[in-house]
């Protein structure tokens, strides 16, 4: 790891005014630290967000689940309130990485990194969540721009994510057996605005599968989606799986997600 300076501010304003071009915000560090260790990234200064109390915590109302950016995966997974409002969200959080990663990793860190195989982007897009920053509110679909790219500006920090409570939702993923990242993961939700189907892991960035949304709108059942194919061109291909294999996984995982929906 190259050397860097370190700062731990206690407020959001302090954190965003401290950041300079070659600095990085440090959330749970479960991606950033390995990346720095491999010298794939470099920072003049790390601004550790762990001392900012206002970024932590979960609050749940009848219509909305709000999760602070520095809330850890383990806290979302174990929250009785999240489990009862959006069980699929707690389930998703309980399957990110492994136990040690969930004890450190945060929702804000995960979505700001926008790894193409991360789980949370599927939940945000699938539920039509809103990402709140120190500057504005961004719909999940506008937030995730492309491979490791988000709508965030240099001095913009995610403060919380709000999820509208759906009628029902489900998540299913085929994990990479080594890393537990989603080789393909599908989040389905029946919401007041209609059915949403979000796919992670299969392409360079999370996306909605609109053919499946249409099919599920008239018939919310696993049978309605298991036969719907996704075009393989544009999907990811690597040593773990070809684009065709991922395209097939979308149908399989979508059917399982519908089956699991509650």
């Amino acid at each position: 790891m190259y050397s860097f300076d370190y700062e731990r501010p206690s407020g959001v304003n302090e954190a965003v005014s401290a950041i300079r071009e070659d600095d990085k915000f440090l959330a749970g560090g479960q991606t950033l630290l390995p990346t720095l260790k491999l010298r794939l990234a470099q920072a003049d200064k790390l601004i550790d967000l762990s001392g900012i109390a206002e970024l932590k915590g979960i609050s749940v109302s009848e219509s909305e689940v709000s999760i602070g950016a520095m809330t850890r995966h383990v806290d979302v997974a174990n929250s009785a309130d999240v489990k009862s409002a959006i069980p699929a969200l707690a389930y998703l959080a309980s399957h990110i990485g492994d136990a040690q990663v969930r004890n450190r990793g945060t929702i804000g860190g995960s979505i700001s990194n926008n790894d193409p195989a991360a789980d949370y982007p599927a939940a945000l897009v699938g539920l039509g969540a809103t990402v709140h920053t120190n500057k504005r509110s961004i719909s999940a679909e506008d937030f995730f721009v492309d491979l490791f790219e988000t709508a965030l500006e240099e001095d913009e920090l995610v403060t919380k994510v709000t999820f509208p409570v759906p009628e029902k939702a489900g998540y299913a993923k085929f994990p990479n057996p080594a890393s537990r990242f989603a080789l393909t993961g599908v989040f389905v939700a029946q919401t007041a605005q209609g059915v949403r189907v979000a796919v992670t892991g299969a392409g360079p960035c999370v996306f909605r599968q609109t053919d499946m949304e249409a099919a599920l709108s008239s018939n919310f059942s696993a049978d309605a989606v298991s036969g719907i194919k996704t075009e393989a061109s544009g999907l990811s291909a690597d040593i773990h799986a070809s684009a065709d294999y991922r395209a097939n996984l979308i149908s399989v995982m979508a059917a399982r997600a519908v089956q699991a929906a509650s």
Partner: protein, 155 residues
């Protein structure tokens, strides 16, 4: 250099470290507690697992400065008054190790696992230990050890 202070195995420690010092480096090189192992150094194998404020974490994927003010427990802090922790005793009893390299991390993860799931099924144990890799393929007896310890720890 930055000053870090934390409690490690019940003892208050403090040192000047470079910000890019990993927690595992601090534990092994500054404190000379070499029971915590570095296996893969890429946050996969879990040999470096320690407890920070009661939660299992991979100490190769945390900076020492991030543990400032925290309570840290390493494998050396489990035994009390010369008595092995029930989890350590169960690994010994059930031959839960072969070469022993992954064992400190396995035991630290297993203690946290049983804390969160007081009566874990075999499936829960296997799922919850996903963050720890044993290259002797000794998982079977590791799972047996954790199961047996969970019974002793509960009783």
């Amino acid at each position: 250099m930055t000053t870090v202070s934390m409690t490690v195995n019940g003892k208050q420690v403090s040192a000047e470290v470079a910000p890019n010092t990993l927690l595992v480096q601090f534990i092994r090189e500054n404190l000379r507690l070499t029971g915590t192992h570095v296996g893969c150094d890429t946050s996969q194998c879990g040999a470096c697992t320690v407890h920070v404020d009661g939660d299992s974490v991979k100490s190769c994927t945390m900076l020492a400065v991030q543990a400032d003010g925290a309570e840290v427990t390493t494998i050396e802090g489990l035994a009390q008054n010369g008595e092995l922790h029930p989890m350590q005793a169960a690994f010994k009893e059930n031959h839960g190790l072969q070469c022993g390299f992954c064992t400190p991390g396995m035991i630290m993860s297993a203690v946290d696992l049983v804390k969160r799931n007081p009566n874990p099924s075999e499936e829960t144990i296997r799922t919850e230990l996903e963050g720890n890799i044993c290259r002797c393929t000794g998982y079977h007896n590791i799972v047996k050890s954790v199961k047996s310890a969970s019974e002793n720890m509960g009783g």
